[in-house]
Symmetry: C2
Subunit: 539 residues, 2 copies
């Protein structure tokens, strides 16, 4: 069989030659709607590639984007890799410090930035090596000291075709950085091969089910793990695409769903929550074409899944993945033979799902053996496959930590049930390692937080001279409950739920749980604070 | 990204570990129904691999099959390539001469044969080098002089797991021979990579739309181009599979559709015709689950597509491909925005369809330039892609003829309309090359056969001193019409339909059109007979 490479150029050519009339709709910051068809999208993409070549972009050079979901970002998603260069989607939500780090670390040559994000760039311009800035949007003038090229001016007079080079499928197409909670962000490079394979598998009927008749609303940011490859998959199939544009509100998104007859979208739980609340507060919107969605980031709350289904006949599926995995690892869909009552159905919905085709997995227990498929044994999820990172960009130490013997360590502690559905129960850094076994801090937290007097609680593992680690529960009581609930009350409350050795050795009442900048429990702080608690006990 | 190979082993493991309860149903020759689940299928496949290893099968050795669609053939489809060897599906419908040639040419080490086909093997046993024969079926004894191993005995005591080797995606998984109308059959080798990519793309929503809930009836023979990769795709997705078994009648097939609640099948036009006639003659069958099918081999007659849709709510899609192309090249599905009346819809159904993802095409006119997308310009279809053959097995001459500059020449003369739908108008060997242009013999034949006095007609190109070739029409009149229709009548009848230079220089009335063994017009014979007709005219 021919050695024909898997490249994004093939997907671009297919979508734009077979479906030139299909529509792309994109919202500008001021609400203006831009409409173009796939034929125009192709010509603009070719113009962009010509302009990039003039600006000195050659094979493997990095083109950074600080951008929302727009048709221009889509043009960058194709023009840059198809000319042999690498798109680098910068997560606009990172701290300025991290943004400076990753732009310099990736050695971006040019930055494409949406107009409303210029203040962000202004603030860091002297700390990054990039000198060429292209501003996107329909605004004519910007109040800035930056020297800017306007995107539309840049591409305007360029030829409407491009002599796309013959690429190797192992050529790098894109890159993104993980927003790791510890240390510097880590860079991941995506090959053409990985993106093409991921796009096809993502489009399968048991996964996103993307067809020519799909109308896709792009909510998941294009600066998050290739927007889950949905822009590539939809171009391949010739689907109508709708881009939410900068700073879209729930009203903007629902408006687009209603007017453009959107059938599918991808987003995180907080967005689904906002959309649901908007719909309840603003009845009468016709969103009847919107039948399915994928929820990533974390599992959608079952109550929200149920509410969308019952109130709006819209089904939310959960998918799980990471920046290092392009991102798809699992997809949660019930099997056709499962007879699930309401409770079982929504329990299933809280799981991450079944491993998608072409990947391989291993669930490694604390002793290195494989976890049984019984929904109870815990292990770290390790994966292999054609869209799994084999290294971090210029970071051999982190590569060594996370990639072992051909496997990528997800850092997620999971169980797997007898039907093969994976459920994340903890992060490897938070799981409590005791006597050669693991205890899920998350499970303990959930049960403690079910106590009516508890406002919030976190459980951490502390060093212990005999057992390696033992759990400590840090509990914040509801206002007025202080002094009315004892350590024993808490332990008694959760005792029926766990094996004896799972129970925390101590429960400490605190005023507040320290949080990270994104609002997650910052267990590092508590672990440092109580580091010697169990050591001292033994002295 | 990891260099993780695309192999059938991955599909086998996914299907059998995630969906061990899903069913495989297979009909024996005597009508007995065998039921096994994916767990059992995996264990039997591992047992088969162990048995093959004992029989001396090692990497790259060829295992031949002379077999119908059964669960055992499915086990061979996986055990052989996943252990690193090559399955060679022998087309049981070929002449004994061709079967001898291909078994020897492929150097098959073992032959797996269904019991009812033993007479075929008896007749050729002294002309093939194979000495090991495994017979399949539930019959205990066979009346034969051959020394046979029974399949069930062969695998019975083998271990139920196998240490599958790590394969390269470029390793050969299978092979098949084209049943070329000229010369010896030509061998095509399929890599793991090609079969995996083909299987995923074939499963996409806009193509076969294969999901876990699909119930697949395998009608297209497993000795035809990997059964269009459907066995691989369905194992990957965990679909229920139903095998028609040896010598299945329409009654057998409809019975399986009814009892097993089949949703999809793949077959050729003659089978669809037989199924339709059976259903009309035997009303009351509940085939309501059967919603979609793919028709290959040639385009299904629009009347049949319409009849199935109107009478049984079952939609037939056409796909086009060749043994050399694994086989999928195009798939015919209307685009969502097309507003087609009945006539336009069924006209579209006669076309081969849109190029499937990951392939690339070129429609090469007689002068080497590319045909315009206007539904009129004709050119030979050339294709490239990850499942297109780059060579014929041990046949450099044929490789040289058919693979040029990285393209595979399909030998099909096509037009392409402005929406990108390909339509085959002739074979390159039959198209009439005149004055640097091409005339479709098929188009002329169809119009001549529309004349009420004409029973059948064929048009051939004859050597011509000035125009290179000119058309000759050979016409068979209906009984009683001889002498009542003139050459001029025929030409006048078709004149309104064609440009003047398309019209045949002569019309000859003959008693019968010579036919090949499979009933096609044998134009070679006529070309030889009339070879000098136009040369002489000029002398």
């Amino acid at each position: 069989m021919m050695n024909y490479p898997l490249t994004l150029t093939n997907l671009l050519k297919r979508g734009t030659t077979l479906f030139p009339q299909k529509e792309i709709v994109s919202r500008e910051l001021d609400g203006t709607i831009v409409r173009l068809n796939y034929g125009e999208f192709y010509r603009r993409t070719a113009q962009l590639a010509n302009a990039l070549r003039e600006l000195g972009i050659t094979k493997n050079k990095r083109v950074g984007t600080l951008a929302w979901n727009t048709h221009r970002h889509l043009e960058l998603y194709f023009a840059v890799p198809c000319m042999g260069a690498t798109y680098h989607t910068v997560n606009i939500r990172l701290s300025p410090k991290d943004i400076i780090f990753i732009i310099n670390h990736a050695e971006d040559e040019i930055l494409f930035i949406d107009g409303d994000l210029l203040p962000l760039l202004e603030a860091i311009k002297n700390q990054i090596q990039v000198k060429t800035f292209v501003v996107m949007g329909n605004q004519k003038k910007y109040n800035t000291t930056l020297s800017l090229i306007n995107y539309e001016d840049l591409i305007a007079k360029q030829p409407e075709n491009y002599d796309w080079p013959e690429l190797d499928e192992w050529d790098i197409a894109g890159m993104a950085y993980t927003s790791g909670t510890t240390g510097e962000p880590k860079g991941v490079q995506y090959t053409h091969r990985a993106l093409v394979l991921h796009s096809i598998v993502a489009g399968l009927p048991d996964i996103m089910n993307i067809s020519e008749s799909t109308v896709m609303l792009h909510i998941v940011p294009m600066f998050h793990a290739n927007a889950w490859s949905i822009p590539f998959a939809t171009v391949m199939t010739g689907s109508k695409q709708v881009f939410t544009g900068p700073r879209a509100t729930p009203e903007d998104m629902i408006g687009l769903i209603e007017r453009e007859k959107v059938t599918f979208t991808a987003a995180v739980p907080v967005i689904f929550r906002m959309l649901y609340e908007y719909l309840k507060a603003n009845p009468g919107k016709d969103i009847s074409t919107w039948k399915n969605s994928v929820c990533g980031g974390s599992a959608p709350p079952p109550s929200l899944v149920k509410a969308f289904k019952e109130d709006f006949d819209m089904e939310i599926y959960h998918a799980y993945g990471l920046t290092e995995t392009t991102p798809l690892i699992t997809w949660n869909v019930p099997k056709s033979y499962m007879k699930l009552d309401d409770q079982a159905f929504y329990d299933l919905k809280t799981k991450q799902g079944l491993l998608v085709p072409l990947l391989e997995m291993r669930i490694e227990k604390s002793d290195g053996s494989e976890a049984k498929w019984n929904g109870e044994e815990m292990g770290e999820l390790l994966v292999k496959g054609p869209w799994i990172a084999k290294e971090y960009y210029k970071d051999p130490d982190e590569t060594f930590r996370k990639m072992t013997k051909g496997w990528f360590r997800t850092g997620d502690i999971v169980t797997i049930d007898k039907e093969g559905y994976i459920k994340i129960v903890d992060r490897i850094k938070d799981v409590i390692k005791t006597g050669g076994e693991w205890i899920s801090s998350v499970d303990l937290e959930n049960e403690i937080m079910a106590h009516p007097a508890v406002l919030e609680a976190t459980v951490i593992g502390l060093p212990h001279p005999k057992w390696d680690e033992r759990p400590l529960a840090c509990v914040v009581l509801r206002p007025g409950m202080k002094g009315k609930v004892s350590e024993k009350d808490i332990v008694d409350f959760i005792t029926p739920k766990f094996a004896k050795w799972w129970l925390p050795d101590k429960v400490i009442f605190i005023d507040e749980i320290p949080k990270t900048s994104v609002g997650k429990f910052d267990k590092k702080v508590l672990r440092a604070q109580f580091e010697n608690l169990y050591q001292k006990d033994q002295e």
